[in-house]
Symmetry: C2
Subunit: 417 residues, 2 copies
């Protein structure tokens, strides 16, 4: 997986400016890979012809249409091969949020269309989920569906005991993130699936597993059978593909209804002219991400662990949020600095050349504390003082070391105020 | 408005091929601008930095995030200025289909959330609409909303008399296309609005006007007050912008609820990380399309009218579908060849180097007759033999002349079979 040359990909101080003075440009360190990733040059190369000569509508009958259709179907085949499913089970969406909406609403609508009333359906999820899942759950509740939140431990891991208790004959769906976008906790999907399988046997009815894998492709195996998911949602923009494109992968037994209406594109699940260029780029990115996720994860896990040790040592106030080892996403560092307002730390670090965040970008509009850390730890001080570093495949311990020096400086400054 | 050099934009025979032999490449004539348009080089130029150095998430707190946010908000301001609204009334979507869905479902959900039951709501539309409107109407009917279809004449123009009769105290929305995507009929929006205003006075309640303006920006004035719309839907891909991006423009008095759920992006109306590059390109395309729509339309209307005369003269079997003069979209030619299967004509012409269609690409998946022509003319023979030529700003009468020769050839061939 080759990225843009460092200067080009990481230095954003030039963007949008008409003239750049030489030697004034400073090197930036980008530690917010969970929020956005640079586009892979190979993905861009696949998109480019679709912006120029290959501009047709894939539904059109003529040469221009057929060429566009070829691009879309080739992309579908490539994604299908990478995730080990048949192409007809791959649906291109406009991103992870749309994918999660389509999956959750679509599963429930399909069951309702088959005659099961909303009041006879239960969905299980956690309070750690991304807004695109949590907000959709609120919609389900409005419809009359019962939503249950399974307990998690301090590290954000789902309590299997509690899940077993929660599953009833009315449970139709379990919705969880493969890896949490804030604290990086990787859920034990196989153990979850086992509980659902037992429930299916006991109640003689299907319980679907929806896995929001937005954070996964660069660092975890996303082959459908390896995740055990019935419905797997990816977002190209989180794995070096373009923004505005996602993928929903379905198992053979899953059934969903579309929540939008129009032409028959994407087997009727996602109507509207296909985003041909975006789809071409997404496929390249997903294939590249999955091609060497293991080596990439092993390499960066080392940097992460050294970085965590370093931060905890340099900054005695720091507390680690989330899990360790394999149960933590390879590129995720999330610490709390209780009694500090870390939004200011993020701003301070930004001025020093480091892009970090406090929580997920989609939750950030509201400001305030991290619902994820609050749920896991029940500790307000920790929840309102999170700092998230999500590393890229080429991040180094030296970069974290430099960051820690600036962070230490900020803490000293804050204490003296 | 500058397009790609002809060779580059129109010749798609090179696309996806690794080697091209010199002098073998033939010039293509692209007459399917209603289905897809080439991307404007200036739009591409605006997108490019967002694929490279400016890759941040617009909701992120740091420099990379802020730069991405600037791109999105600058694009919003530019679109707002072009359409003469305030930026807060511009929402970026993932395309025209999503825009129409959001508008129709969003208006109804908002009213329902305010306490009006579905059964107490009526929506009026025509049977000529794009699938993204017609299929959404089916969804409304499932919910219990009454959907009424206003009569149109043989040319596809809405019957004002009939509309007056249909509007009742329960009518909440009229949903029409500015210009029909198949036969190019431009609806008299001012007259429609007048009827709605009268109804509003009579029944002391709002009746919103939703205008699907997907086909309009290159050829018609899309300033919100000029369209009289409460909700105006555009699709960047139909006016030389990128695929997968649309715009919903709202009047001050309109109120809609989102139909998808997640982060607070786009004022909560369209959650999910913004497609920054796409939005940047869409803004450039929409601004350029609107900057000189009048001159562009006047020029191509001449070519269209000469083309129509020529086709009707060369091919005596041909019948024109739709209207004339200003009431017909400047770039639209739609004829029927009763008793011929024009899908074969489209394939024949394609082989001869002409990209044409039989109807809208979104309706094409199903094959079969044109519902638009069927509704307008009640003539099965005409409805099942349509041929649509949608011209570009640089199309010429010579190109139509060449096409007519090949079409004539095909007809002779068919008759001899």
């Amino acid at each position: 997986m080759k990225f843009w040359g460092k200067k080009e990909s990481v230095d954003v101080t030039k963007a949008g400016r008409t003239t750049v003075q030489k030697n004034v440009v400073s090197e930036r360190v980008y530690f917010d890979w969970a929020a956005a990733t640079p586009l892979l040059p190979a993905a861009y190369a696949a998109m480019k012809p679709c912006f120029k000569e290959n501009f047709g509508n894939p539904s059109a009958i003529h040469e221009e249409g057929k060429r566009a259709r070829e691009v879309v179907e080739r992309a579908r085949s490539e994604v299908a091969r990478a995730l080990q499913v048949r192409p007809e089970f791959v649906t291109f969406t406009a991103g992870g949020t749309e994918g999660n909406n389509l999956t959750i609403l679509g599963t429930i609508s399909q069951l309702q269309a088959k005659g099961r009333s909303y009041e006879k359906m239960e969905v299980i999820t956690t309070k750690l989920e991304h807004p695109s899942v949590l907000e959709t759950m609120c919609k389900l509740e409005q419809l009359g569906v019962r939503v249950k939140y399974v307990e998690v431990n301090e590290e954000g891991l789902i309590s299997l005991q509690n899940l077993k208790k929660l599953v009833t004959a009315e449970t139709v769906l379990l919705s969880v993130a493969y890896a949490n976008s804030e604290i990086g906790t990787v859920q034990p999907l196989h153990s979850l699936k086992k509980i659902l399988c037992e429930a299916e046997k006991r109640f003689k009815d299907k319980v679907y597993l929806h896995v929001d894998a937005a954070q996964a492709p660069l660092w975890l195996n996303c082959q459908l059978d390896s995740t055990q998911a019935d419905l797997l949602v990816l977002d190209a923009a989180k794995c070096c593909g373009p923004k505005g494109v996602g993928v929903l992968v379905r198992s053979r037994r899953s059934e969903i209804l579309s929540s939008s209406f129009g032409g028959g594109q994407e087997s009727g699940l996602r109507p509207g002219t296909e985003n041909v260029a975006g789809i071409a780029g997404a496929a390249v990115a997903i294939v590249a991400a999955q091609a060497d996720w293991r080596a990439r994860a092993e390499k960066i896990r080392e940097v992460r662990d050294k970085g965590i040790s370093l931060l905890l040592k340099t900054i005695p106030q720091a507390v680690l949020n989330g899990t360790k080892d394999d149960k933590r996403l390879a590129n995720n560092i999330n610490i709390s600095l209780p009694s500090f307002d870390t939004e200011y730390a993020a701003v301070w670090l930004d001025a020093k050349g480091f892009a970090v965040s406090t929580k997920s970008a989609c939750s950030s509009a509201g400001g305030g504390e991290s619902l994820v850390v609050k749920t896991a730890t029940s500790d307000d001080a920790r929840a309102s003082s999170t700092l998230r570093l999500t590393l890229g495949p080429e991040s180094t311990i030296e970069e974290i070391k430099n960051l820690s020096i600036h962070l230490k400086e900020w803490i000293v400054l804050m204490k003296s105020v």
